[in-house]
Amino acid sequence: MSVVVERSPVPRWLTERISNRHLVAIGVGWVTFFFVFPILFLVVESLNFGSGGLFDAYRRATGGVYLNAFARSFVYGFVTTVVTLAFAYVLAYYLVFASDRVRLLLTLVVVPLWIAYIIRYFGLLLFFSPTGPLGQVGLEIDILFTSTAVVVGLANAYLPFAVLPIYNSLNAIHHETIDASRALGAGQLRTIYEVVVPLSTPGIVAAGVIVFILATGSFLGPAVLGGPEQSMIANEIARTFLEAYNIQLASALAVIYTVLLVAFIAAFNAVFDLQEALGNL
């Protein structure tokens, strides 16, 4: 009796039962095709294969106005992160320990995310303008088109991203740990400082990383609320590409920014265990 081996025209991996490997392939494939390839393509685009040096665009990208934009992005990113974390921590603390309407308030925290950034920034713009409600009642807050306006706008926009992880980590603290601290002789503030804050570090770290990444790469905030002096790197990349149509320079700026941000996160990761912090989200 002979065994007939039939060759199917359909490859075997397609006829197998769907396993985890297939599911992973979809995710990895998606990311590779739409994220890794485009970024790598940027690297190619940023190099100068014509006359002159290969890294000509990089030389321009690291000077003058662009250097300022890089510096500004990271400074704004840092300040926004600090401001946002401070507000988010107080809000999350209130939600966990003092509020009995947690679900409602959490919803209110998230609701702004349903509204497009451009609309929210535009709202702030009108609110702070001399003809806005504050101006009408004689309370002129002259911050429009300054760094303050940009940071206020960014901190406001990214607040929900910070509240949620901090809320989660505060919520995970066993109430009896706090009672124990009080019984052991620590006052309220001492307990917050010695017990609550250390135990919510994962949430603070996660919130900080998320806000920092989002804020540093902001485009709309500085575009709407800032002036020419508030231009961040995303604005410079957009301008170089869309107005000056200098693809090579724009690509070089994009590559530098990406490398800097990754380096920043890596350095941060060396201090805090991000995997643990982000795993708690």
Partner: protein, 372 residues
Amino acid sequence: MLEVTGLTKYYGELLAVDDVSFHIDEGDFVTLLGPSGCGKTTLLHMIAGLREPTEGQVKLRGEDVTDLAPEDRNIGMAFQSTALFPHMTVRENIAYGLRMHGYDAEERDTQVQEFLELVDLPDHGDHHPDELSGGQQQRVSLARALAYEPDILLLDEPLTGLDRVLREEMREWLMTLQRELGVTSLYVTHDQEDALSMSDKVIVLDDGQKQQAASPERIYEQPANEFVATFVGKSTRFDGTLRSVDDRPIVETDETRIVVGTNDRATNHDDGEAVSLFVRPEDVDVEPATATADGGTTTTAGAASAAPTAAATVENAFPGTVEKIANLGNRTEVTVALESGETALANTARFPNIAVGDEVTVTFDSESVVVV
């Protein structure tokens, strides 16, 4: 030492603790015993200062501490969850209270080491709590609560959640530790074995109200009311009316009558009063019915008792049918459905010569009856 007067707590409309008063003497181990939701934890939290009482007063060493924050009361506290600080080592956990109470670094080190040894964990100082077993964690939590020598140790079900063997071991260990240090302790539990085996005094709480405060023996032998009688230990129960016949108190139920003793477990009730009777299973004997049917000349002594069991000499003898026989290891618990309608519980020898479905006679001494 600790004096609680009229302590009351409302949660909105809900009355959680209702006018509870008691005191604890220096060095005593007192248990607050009650079912879950009876208000015992709320009561403990008010004594600790973690909750504000609606009314009432807490005095510690003669000082009114009712309005003091927990950190100003010099109390030690252990929790069911251990509540150890997960971000600190065992050593740092124990040193925490010492730091807050103003011990300097050197004193802290000696005190921490001393208490690590006291709780049998001398080499575990640098571990984190999550590297320890449940029993070890609870010992650390006790060391932490005691290291700065508080006026009183408050224990909120610290042994709940440990398995049976460990629990008994920890009970033993905790009692030794408490006696050794002589620290006044208030222990909250829903476990009657904890309460009866460890305490100098037991305070039974139900529905926010104090039901009885007495020695463990008295709580068991002479429960103050129906709740205490049913919550602490098992019993055979009869409901009826108290009457006096030939100068002897008896209780008439719908179907039968029970002779009641004249000791103080049965007094303090008036003729004609509706009462409940409780008899502990160890006071109840069960014998095959044949033994009493022929006038009590012979007994097969199927039950545990060595006492004379002839029916004529026993005042309280009731016929019934064996419903269940449960071997509980060191003893056997027999459940008998009495003809009069009640269910009787009796402890017998490990291997009684009766079986489920047997006709039996249940007997008990009138002096063992508790009337509430």
